[in-house]
């Protein structure tokens, strides 16, 4: 993003000049009537209204709308009021004397008070140093120093107009993923799938984005994407890795280990993700690449791995909990959190989270219903 756009000196002067002109116009509006003598001007009176009512009766009578006796009665009534009004009229007439002292005070109020109030209120609120920044001008700024966000914005605008541009979605999606805009990345991968057609790689990418959006948890939705990817290409490394991770998160450590072991067996020796899979494998205690270890060592490494694994899951759950604390209206998120606590065997925390969840979305009946149903299936209903 650009730096603070300060006004050049000349523009600054113009702005203050405009302010001064406006102030003068405002002061003038106050001073104008003070200088004139208002007595000559005509003003309305009650007498005129009653006279008009009398005329109205004549008109109704002429049109045959009211019978003559009614008209006569009304005429008498209005005439009576007319006389009363005429009698009281002079009492409220404008006093002839003009009060010079007060007029001067009012003039001073306008001349000094108005600019003081205006500046006094404007200065703390306004930003006279900032120039306008309309879209047209912004687009004229040459492409220097285009930040990644701006580029992404431009691509998004392009895709908004040409949503069927599959290549565009393909380019955009990984960038969004890297920027941490996981929800947008999910949408972009979905569009990429729609317009570029099925491929194991895209399905797996979508699954990855989905689990990233879920704070690292391979959700059912993400898992189904990985399964589709796996069905398309049984050797797709990303799908296999995440299916393993899903198994691990479900508590099926042996399944996870076997999936990862198979993945490593087929992997080219220089695959960049080898290390990641190996550490993952070690984590679930399936470090079976070295079968010659003694039982004791295996047990030890198993223990250690157990701790590591817990730390990792805990980290994930922690992240999810923090996210929900900031933005509590995500029903799925809450359910995931409760499920995670239950899996970790922390029933108290699970209960606590479900209470928090109810509070966070209490204002929305529909979501509350979803939550309650979800909790019931987890065995926490009631």
């Amino acid at each position: 993003m650009g730096a603070v756009r300060a006004l050049p000196e000349a523009c600054q002067m113009t702005l203050w000049f405009v302010f001064a002109l406006m102030t003068v116009a405002a002061i003038f509006a106050v001073l104008l009537p003070l200088g004139r003598n208002g007595r000559a001007q005509n003003q309305g009176s009650e007498v005129a209204v009653y006279k008009d009512q009398l005329a109205e009766i004549e008109r109704d009578l002429a049109a045959g709308l009211i019978p003559a006796p009614d008209a006569e009665a009304a005429r008498v009534e209005i005439s009576r009021r007319l006389l009363a009004a005429a009698a009281s009229e002079p009492a409220i007439a404008i006093a002839p004397q003009s009060n010079l002292r007060w007029r001067r005070t009012a003039a001073v109020l306008a001349l000094a008070g108005l600019p003081l109030v205006a500046i006094g209120v404007y200065m703390p609120l306004g930003s006279p140093k900032l120039q306008d920044f309309p879209l047209a001008q912004r687009e004229r700024v040459p492409g220097k120093a285009q930040s990644l966000e701006n580029l992404v914005e431009q691509v998004q605008q392009h895709l908004e107009k040409n949503p069927t541009d599959g290549r565009g979605w393909n380019v955009l999606a990984p960038v969004l993923q890297r920027l941490g805009r996981f929800d947008d990345a999910v949408r972009a991968y979905r569009n990429s799938l729609t317009y570029n057609g099925e491929s194991a790689e895209r399905r797996a990418d979508l699954g990855e984005a989905l689990s990233a959006a879920a704070g690292g948890v391979v959700t059912a939705e993400a898992k189904s994407e990985f399964e589709r990817a796996h069905a398309l290409d049984a050797d797709d490394p990303k799908a296999n890795y995440f299916l393993g991770l899903a198994a691990e998160q479900d508590g099926r450590k042996d399944d996870a280990a076997s999936i990862w072991r198979a993945l490593l067996a087929k992997a080219p020796a220089d695959a960049p993700w080898r290390a990641l899979v190996q550490t993952s494998l070690a984590r679930v205690g399936g470090g079976g690449t070295m079968p010659a270890l003694s039982d004791q060592t295996i047990a030890a490494s198993k223990d250690m791995a157990e701790g590591d694994r817990n730390a990792m899951v805990r980290g994930m759950v922690e992240r999810l909990a923090t996210r929900l604390k900031q933005n509590g209206d995500d029903v799925d998120g809450w359910l995931r959190l409760v499920r995670a606590y239950l899996v970790m065997g922390e029933r108290d925390k699970a209960m606590g989270a479900s209470v928090d969840a109810r509070q966070a979305i209490a204002s929305d009946a529909e979501r509350l219903r979803q939550l309650n149903e979800g909790l019931k299936t987890l065995g926490l209903g009631g």
Binding site: P33, G35, N99, V117, P134, K161
Partner: protein, 660 residues
């Protein structure tokens, strides 16, 4: 430069309003014409500056200047131009600026066309206007400033709430605000009268056109809002007794009462104090509406943002003006002269009954709106007061009112002949009974009360027709005379007839829609056929389309009746990527006053889509009624005897003659 100039113009308007709220009052005390005239010139200058400020904000939105926080938060460079403009008041800050612009507009109108007002009254009125204006300028500048800037402007805005991206936003809020704020004039006149310590028939004559104008706009604004909710929200509902809707209904009810009591005051010089009180109450309810909607006490489409400081600020304004005006009323009302006696059975009596019923109805709505809020705040207990409550309370009151409506205009002033009027209304009564009988015979299912309500609606319409027939002598006299008399009939009489008939029309629409609507909710696949109210609705297919700032899934339905194709309907679902939300665009097929209504739900993976199809008989009458009422209001307003500048010299009258 535009942003800062607009901001500064608003600050200057505040300065002018402050001067306008003090100097004219000193002028009145000293009887100094020059000081009193300051009110008029400052009111005009204030209008100039507020309009400049509003135009500046519009330009910023049109130019997509995202260095202004308000534009960044509510606009998007790809939005169509119309929504860039309407988006100006599609958010809290902008809508408050529109509010004060309209307030300044009314102040400016009083200043410009008030030369027939006594100078001291004009000064008082404009000073009171300036108090209201100052309070709201301060509110805007301190808590909801639309001109705040962002030093590092983002590249793209966050877009307007998609539900609001509709032509309705161009019409509904300005109309509603013209109504709400229009009542500030009668409020200011009432306060001015209390301060001057005298009111008379002439006062009512000046107030009535303003009240009528505000009432027309409010009527149209509410009707428009209701129709908008009907077609945009996709549930086919048109009134939800939602607090925000009630907030607009309450000023309408008391404004209608005010309109009628001002009539008594003008014609018979009676009910003065009551009229003053109603003026105060009506505007207080408008302010209350603003508070409920703007403070975020209620969360809804209308509460664009919630911020406690705003709520507290508006609550302060509310207490200051309602409390202040009511205590002034309490202190001064006794000193006002009462006048004009009348028998209970008379036009005045009928109008008092009207006022009584309308104010009680208004009180019921007020209770239904505030009680749940109070319970939530005090007892931390959530409840909602909905249709069942209002059906039990509001509906009987209104039924009683409607039963009395045809009698009112036919009763004589001062002392009426109820029996005579009943005889003359016999034909209308028979028409109503016939309507009951016919609906009873035809109707299948539904409430037993429905035919009765329809009969009531027909009775109200027939009553309005009877009134005109009586006045023109349509049956008794030769046609030429009738024509002459019809032309000579005051337009306000025509206006009364139209407005009252509008009530009947709306009632028939409401009853038909709620009693005999049918709905069909299903998940449909391509070539599936749904049957509803004799129509066959076939889903031809789904297609995608790209709009300017949204993507749209359109479902194409072929509607046929007895094998004959009727029309093609294309409801759609739009998804807006910037806010990641979507809207339902219902498709409407109008047949006479009835409508077929299709809105889409979610599509599932197999290409099937949830569809809601409604058949709503006579539904359009619900909105034709208010339009008819507003038309009656316009007729009444065009009656030159009610003009703002009522007393015109004879020469001017002649000049105006051909136009009539």
């Amino acid at each position: 430069m535009i942003a800062e100039s607009g901001h500064y113009a608003l600050v200057l308007a505040l300065g002018l309003a402050l001067i306008q709220s003090v100097v004219p009052l000193i002028g009145v005390r000293l009887r100094d014409a020059a000081l009193m005239n300051v009110a008029r010139s400052t009111a005009l200058a204030q209008l100039l500056f507020v309009v400049a400020s509003f135009i500046a904000l519009v330009m910023l939105h049109v130019n997509s200047d995202f260095s202004v926080a308000n534009v960044y938060e509510n606009s998007h460079s790809m939005k169509p131009l119309l929504y860039k403009i309407t988006g100006v008041w599609g958010n809290h800050e902008g809508s408050m600026l529109l509010w004060v612009s309209i307030l300044a507009l009314f102040g400016g109108l009083v200043a410009a066309f008030g030369n027939n007002l006594p100078l001291s009254l004009c000064a008082h009125v404009l000073a009171v206007q300036a108090w209201i204006a100052s309070a709201f300028y301060l509110f805007i500048l301190v808590t909801s400033n639309p001109f705040l800037r962002i030093a590092n402007p983002p590249i793209e805005g966050r877009d307007l709430n998609p539900v609001l991206q509709d032509i309705g936003l161009a019409v509904h809020p300005p109309m509603l605000y013209l109504g709400y704020v229009g009542f500030s004039i009668s409020f200011s006149f009432a306060i001015a009268a209390l301060m001057e310590g005298r009111i008379d028939a002439a006062w009512a004559r000046w107030v009535r056109p303003w009240t009528l104008m505000a009432w027309i706009f409010l009527t149209l604004g509410i009707a428009m809002g209701s129709y908008w909710a009907y077609y945009e929200l996709g549930w086919g509902g048109w009134w939800f007794w939602d607090p925000v809707e009630n907030a607009s209904l309450m000023p309408w009810l008391s404004g209608t009462a005010l309109l009628h009591s001002a009539l008594v005051m003008e014609k018979r010089n009676a009910l003065k104090v009551w009229t003053i009180l109603l003026s105060i109450l009506t505007f207080s309810l408008s302010l209350l509406g603003t508070f409920l909607v703007r403070s975020g006490v209620i969360t809804s489409v209308h509460a664009f943002a919630t911020d406690p400081t705003r709520g507290v600020f508006i609550l302060l304004i509310l207490c200051l003006f309602i409390g202040g005006s009511l205590s002034l009323f309490a202190g001064r009302a006794t000193s006002l002269k009462q006048g004009g006696l009348f028998a209970p059975i008379s036009r005045e009596g009928a109008l008092v009954l009207n006022n009584l019923l309308l104010t009680v109805a208004c009180a019921v709505v007020l209770f239904g709106t505030l009680y749940p809020l109070a319970m939530e705040m005090l007892a931390d207990f959530k409840m909602s007061v909905g249709a069942p409550f209002y059906n039990l309370t509001f509906a009987p009151l209104f039924a009683l009112l409607l039963l009395a409506v045809p009698f009112g205009p036919m009763l004589a002033w001062k002392r009426g002949d109820l029996l005579g009027v009943t005889q003359r209304l016999l034909a209308a009564g028979v028409a109503g009974l016939v309507a009951v009988a016919i609906t009873w015979g035809w109707a299948t299912g539904g409430s037993t009360l429905a035919p009765l309500a329809i009969g009531l609606g027909v009775f109200v319409i027939a009553g309005a027709v009877t009134d005109i027939v009586e006045r023109t002598g349509l049956v008794r006299l030769p046609f030429a005379t009738v024509l002459h008399r019809a032309r000579g009939l005051p337009r306000s009489a025509w206006g009364t007839a139209f407005a009252h008939a509008g009530l009947g029309v709306a009632l028939i629409g409401i009853v038909c829609e709620t009693t005999w609507n049918s709905e069909h909710i299903a998940t449909m696949k391509q070539n599936d056929v749904a049957q509803i109210a004799g129509f066959d609705v076939k889903l031809d297919g789904l297609l995608q389309r790209q709009g300017p700032n949204y993507r749209e899934m359109i479902a194409q339905f072929n509607v046929s009746r007895d094998g004959q194709p009727v029309s093609v309907m294309t409801p759609s679902k739009r998804s807006f990527s910037t806010r990641g939300s979507s809207t339902t665009e219902a498709a409407l097929l109008t047949r006479g006053a009835s409508q077929l209504y299709i809105s889409l739900g979610d599509a599932n993976a197999e290409g099937a889509i949830a569809v809601r199809i409604y058949y709503k008989p006579m539904v359009l009458l619900i909105w034709w009624g208010p339009v008819l009422m507003a038309f009656g209001g316009v007729l009444s307003l065009s009656d030159r005897r009610l003009r703002v500048g009522a007393p015109k010299p004879a020469r001017a009258k002649q000049r105006l003659q051909p136009a009539e």
